[in-house]
């Protein structure tokens, strides 16, 4: 299916958020996720089913003031 990952269109095979993160190269990374604008906690990712056109945000620690 085609989803938007951090604003970029990506083709993925995974059906849930955990699988998508693995497939997209985030395995083992410290990240937080949101699906269609709503926060999805790490423990909820396996149950977060993906659909064509979904917007996924994957955020990580960054410098800030």
């Amino acid at each position: 299916m085609r989803v938007l990952v951090n604003g970029a269109s990506r083709e993925i095979r995974a059906a849930d958020l955990t699988g998508a993160l693995e497939e997209l190269g985030y395995g083992g990374a410290v990240v937080a996720t949101a699906l269609n604008g709503e926060f999805v906690a790490a423990v909820e990712r396996p149950a977060a089913r993906l659909a064509d056109g979904d917007r996924i945000e994957v955020l990580a620690p960054m410098q800030g003031g």
């Binding site: 620690p61 410098q63 003031g65």
Partner: protein, 256 residues
């Protein structure tokens, strides 16, 4: 200084953005003596994973992190960012920013109060980036905030305390609330002034990270904050409009 349930020795909080290199950031944090550093969340690339290296640097500092919601323009966006930050950074502290206008980065105080209400209900310990407005401060405290972060002047401008009258009124109106002057501090004398006025701490980023020598400037800010606080505790004299001779007049010889 007490922030929520934590006792902080240092009254200088430091931002982690815009340093020339990670090693200079590390040295600047050490030189500042800061126990709290602010951090943020940004999009991570699965290929580069730049955030992972940064997070490792921050963890090695041994400082407490204060995640921000910088760049959020609505209460909803700020709440979601705070929720993501709580999970990644493992803290319920959040420096809540809801920006209302891009030229001055002035807080949208309406969105700020709305987001603060939601986050306090969800158990966050909120440090709201606000203006010196008394009524907004009152609403933030009603929402459950127990620390306020009024701006000195717009973020990154280095102009110091822009509205002294307003800031003094805010300090006087809520004498028991811990207040951290956040944003606009340009040089150590601005920080000293904030502490002299009775503000509990300052949060500095650009003034240190963009200095020619950030490590030396971090040290200079640490001294200014210590001096400002010591002066506040010593009780500064009241300013007067007319001169008062410091040398006693009584007993002066008549030599005219």
């Amino acid at each position: 200084m007490r922030c929520y349930e934590s006792e902080l020795r240092s009254r200088l909080l430091l931002g982690t953005a815009r340093y020339p290199s990670p090693s200079i950031l590390t040295e600047a944090v050490k030189a500042s003596g800061a126990q709290v550093v602010t951090v943020s969340l940004r999009r991570e690339s699965g290929g580069e994973r730049a955030g992972q290296g940064f997070w490792s640097i921050i963890r090695n500092l041994g400082a407490r992190v204060l995640p921000n919601t910088a760049g959020c323009h609505s209460a909803k966006e700020a709440v979601t960012t705070a929720q993501m930050g709580r999970e990644v950074f493992g803290t319920s502290w959040v420096k809540l920013e809801v920006i209302g206008e891009d030229e001055t980065l002035q807080p949208d105080v309406f969105g700020l109060v709305e987001a603060a209400r939601i986050l306090c209900r969800e158990g966050f310990e909120v440090f709201p980036f606000t203006t010196e407005d008394l009524i907004v401060a009152e609403r933030l405290l009603e929402a459950g905030c127990r620390v306020l972060m009024p701006w000195g002047s717009p973020i990154g401008c280095g102009r110091g305390l822009n509205n002294l009258f307003g800031l003094k009124a805010l300090r006087a109106r809520f004498p028991e609330v811990p207040m951290v002057i956040d944003a606009g501090i340009g040089v150590p004398s601005h920080a000293a002034q904030a502490l002299e006025l009775g503000f509990d701490a300052v949060l500095i980023n650009t003034a240190v990270s963009q200095a020619r020598d950030p490590v030396a400037m971090a040290g200079a800010f640490a001294q200014a904050v210590a001096a400002g606080r010591a002066a506040y505790e010593a009780g500064p004299m009241e300013p007067r409009d007319l001169a008062v001779p410091s040398t006693p007049v009584t007993g002066k010889a008549f030599l005219g």
